[in-house]
Symmetry: C2
Subunit: 308 residues, 2 copies
Amino acid sequence: MSKLVIVGTVAFDAIETPFGKTDKILGGAATFIGLSASHFNVDAAAISIVGGDFPQEYLDILSSKKIDISGIEIVKDGKTFFWSGKYHNDMNTRDTLVTELNVLADFNPVVPNNYLDADVVMLGNLHPIVQLGVLDQMTIKPKLVVLDTMNFWMDCALDDLLNVIKRIDVITINDEEARQLTGEYSLVVAARKIHEMGPKYVVIKKGEHGALLFHDDHMFYAPALPLEEVFDPTGAGDTFAGGFAGYLTKTEDYSFENMKNAVIYGSTLASFCVEKFGTERMINLEKNEVLKRMQQFKQLTQFNIELS
Amino acid sequence: MSKLVIVGTVAFDAIETPFGKTDKILGGAATFIGLSASHFNVDAAAISIVGGDFPQEYLDILSSKKIDISGIEIVKDGKTFFWSGKYHNDMNTRDTLVTELNVLADFNPVVPNNYLDADVVMLGNLHPIVQLGVLDQMTIKPKLVVLDTMNFWMDCALDDLLNVIKRIDVITINDEEARQLTGEYSLVVAARKIHEMGPKYVVIKKGEHGALLFHDDHMFYAPALPLEEVFDPTGAGDTFAGGFAGYLTKTEDYSFENMKNAVIYGSTLASFCVEKFGTERMINLEKNEVLKRMQQFKQLTQFNIELS
């Protein structure tokens, strides 16, 4: 069974949308990535840090999905990372209300011994120095390293970010971030400039408008499934990344052609994530529901035309 | 050979984009629709009106593409409809600088006798009463009626617009207009409400984010081809509609499955339109270029995954 290492936050989120609001609930990049990747029966480990205030039942949820949590450090007298945000009416923009780093401020990730030879490393959104720290620990060069990041690190740790971008195979980034990172409005030109920074594969996430995969002169486009209602977009990007990395880990085929399928799986899983608050939908998601929605994706995008 | 009737403006445009500006050049919905539909070797006629100031060479361009122009009325002592607009840096929004209706103010469309039995009618953006006037002239019910419209008519002639919407098969409309027409943010819900107004097929155009085709519970999504540079978006929506209607006219297959292909053809042709100012790219577009880009569309969207 192929091994997948996931690094990222395991956290409390408090979310407000036009449909309601939550108290502190389970959140964090590694959580969403892990729940999504768990659909592929890979040997996945989450590397993260939480405080003594973090409920055992949340950790049990990850374990129940067969995610190894021995790499999640528990700081007994510390507090768990907390993020709170409020979405605007269009659900495409949000305000961050609270960011409490807490134990994350001194996070020193340690990859468990039996994952130092993992096939795939998924670097969830975190300080690029932490992401680099994980890569440096791997005793065998991973077959694939996927990085997710965000504009925050471009603003305050650009040099570190560029250092980690040099060493990865795939970057997942949203459209505005791709534009910020390159100074280019056209996503085609932005992707080319990001290629030149290191990654052979560039995934640009466009939210409700889907995702683009770039590799040299090749492009692939996966739409987001048009939904009647987006209830809570939190974690959709991480869920996409988890599905993408999980599928590639399972299939052990890191070609562009297979990455197309990985993008479709990522989009499919993300389309569930937004249906309920936080991780709720992902925790209860069944395999047959995923298969059914993959069929919908095929119908949504596939056509049969004779060109002559 | 199947017949296609195209109604819309034949006009002067003056365009300003971040890349430059033009004097008065050839424009108008019927012009772009006609140039696009001409790629399908159908028997197409344009119904419109121009003034005595309209150059014969512009009419000759349409004739050279085998578009019947006997339905384009020339008002010798009148002036041609003139639109001028300026695009913002993102190319997704624009300001209208000038709208001179001129001869369009008294346009009374007359369908030439040999097109009264046309198979397909493409109602380009115009006052809904003019669009209705064309439908009323048809002596045999067309096999397919496609309507393009815009928010302007929702603001100032909503009742007339709803009357024409009742009588058509396909509406093409952009995302913001679909939201305005229905008061629904979700495009899935908006499409359902538009279905209830009459059209069995709803095409929602999302500009650089592609187009969605809805029919009952079925959805199909065609991306826009990601481009290095969008030079001038003027006419892209009309070019899309012309490719859509032209392909369906040629194939005489008005099923949802075939409409998927029509959407892909429309998107392909629109991707050329934006490469140069006004009609320039469409006038010189060769068949082999279109075929090559259709292949690119296939590569962009098609994947091969086994679901089990």
